[in-house]
């Protein structure tokens, strides 16, 4: 059963259809790429998937621990369903430390109530100690442990991207949505990121959907690629298939002018 089914999804803002009648399935355990020119509706699609936008029509169904349908999609519930994401323009908690950023990622896994917090009952210490340990472990895996007390905003760009992924993973998702993880990275950082994404998928047993402009990254690590253009899904298939597709070439390179 696919982990995500999207049926005839449409989102319009006023008279403009940002996403038009998109249907696709994503299988568990895959790394899937979504590509397309600027303004193709990729980020809108992600925002629909994470409940930040409500679809104008169509249906989104997740088959995670439970079946999650369009009606259940509220941004603050996504992590509890097992869905976590990063943002195109990094959205870290800038003035907070690296450690606090990851600690917040664990939010939906914590259960002790406000009275336990106010009075520091045993359940507080138990959960907090466990969370701090898990945070250190996660930071260590991302090579950020020695920077854990630094403000997030003081990290180099590549580390900020990494931290955002670490924060998303703290929610222990089963489906991870990455919005342009390689944006602004140089080729060396991009190839490191590629390794990181592969490793994350294996290590955390995740399904990953990523939006990306960097073709080398998409073609290298994605098992399947969906191509968006003007809100439409114009092609899908393996990276090789997509690269040969006429519509895709047209979307990226423009149409050939016929000679008269």
């Amino acid at each position: 059963m696919p982990i995500l089914e999207v049926n005839n999804l449409t989102k319009s803002f006023g008279g403009i259809d940002a996403v038009t009648d998109i249907s696709l399935d994503i299988d568990a355990g895959d790394i899937v790429g979504i590509i397309g020119p600027n303004g193709a509706g990729k980020t809108t699609f992600f925002n629909l998937l994470t409940g930040l936008y409500t679809p104008s029509s169509g249906e989104i169904v997740y088959n995670l621990n439970n079946r999650v349908t369009t009606r259940d999609l509220k941004p603050h519930r996504m992590t509890s369903y097992g869905i976590s994401r990063t943002f195109q323009n990094i959205r870290l908690f800038q003035d907070m430390s690296v450690m606090d950023n990851v600690l917040i990622g664990f939010h939906s896994g914590l259960r002790y109530g406000v009275p336990s917090a106010l009075l520091r009952l045993p359940s507080y210490f138990k959960s907090e100690n466990r969370t701090y340990k898990a945070t250190d472990k996660l930071l260590d895996r991302f090579n950020l442990l020695d920077k854990k007390y630094e403000s997030a905003k003081n990290l180099p760009y590549g580390d900020q991207r990494k931290l955002e992924i670490a924060r998303a993973l703290a929610a222990s998702p089963r489906l991870l949505l990455l919005d342009e993880p390689a944006a602004g990275m140089n080729p060396r950082e991009t190839s490191e990121l590629m390794e990181l994404i592969r490793w994350i998928r294996k290590e955390f047993e995740l399904t990953i959907i990523l939006i990306e402009h960097d073709m080398s990254l998409v073609m290298n690590i994605c098992k399947k690629v969906f191509v968006f253009d003007y809100g439409n899904l114009i092609a899908s298939g393996t990276p090789d298939e997509v690269q040969q597709d006429e519509k895709v070439i047209r979307a990226y390179l423009g149409e050939e002018v016929e000679k008269c």
Binding site: T50, L52, P75, H76, R77, M78, T79, S80, S84, R85, F87, R91, L92, F93, Q94, D95, M96, S97, M99, D100, L103, I104, G105, F106, H107, S108, L110, Y112, V114, S116, A117, L118, L119, R120, L121, P122, Y124, F125, S127, E128, N129, T131, Y132, Y149, R167, A168, A171
Partner: protein, 310 residues
Amino acid sequence: MIKFSRKQIMIIGALLIFYAIVNLMINAGIIDSYLQLNIIVIGINIILAVSLNLITGFTGQFSLGHAAFMSIGAYTSAILTANFSQPFILSIILSGAMAAIAGILIGVPTLRLKGDYLAIATLGFGEIIRILALNIDYIGGAIGFNDIPQYTNWTWTFGLTVATIILIYNFINSYHGRACAAIREDEVAAEVMGINATYYKVLAFAIGAFFAGIAGALYANYFYFIKPDSFGFMKSVDILVIVVFGGMKSIAGSIVGAIALTIISSFLQGIPELRMIIYSLILFGIMIYRPTGLIGDEKLVIGKKKRRSI
């Protein structure tokens, strides 16, 4: 049960010694009644500033109606102690609870507003409470509420101030408090990380209001007499000034700010014609040379510092 670290035992010890010394000095008459009044006002201001800091500094919700919560607490306690001769402890708790309920009632509709709009909505709320109090004859209306028994003393003030600081500190350093801070930093990212922003904003509002209500009870039962105008817009601004002066996102800042500004304004009462001018100049100075406030550094409270492991 709960184990204390060596540092905590030392802090508790220091607090007890401080309490005992001041208590002795009051009994021996070294601290006269004027000085005692100032000490109690400092305690009340600390409670108000720390609780407003939770709302404005930590959760990032700009509120101009904090005095209204204080007023609700003050009138609740006045009614309970003067008209129904209830014990002070009960009236303190109910004062806090009434203010917290008001906080929830006002929070649910207004907290979807942001920034300036929220400030105006809370300002309006403060005025509504003031005008209500002016027009209810049962609580004295514009004449004010008289003959409130004086229960507030150094012991109550000290105990409640310390309790407020500890409880709010604990809240901030829990995952609930981190959620509030995340909302301040980036509400969308916080939501996507599983934080129900509306719930936490209302929660912060309710907790802040609860302690403001307690401060109101202390106030009413110290000064015998309260009137609606004591809890107007200017009182809310005064509390906000303490928070900004001491440093947003810093509990230590709110404590230092409350102490410093209470002492300064008490000294300046000797020269009433220059009072507001000098007071404003001091505020200007702080804002120019330390724009983040006296101790404007969240690292004192959240994160940066090494965490104790207990």
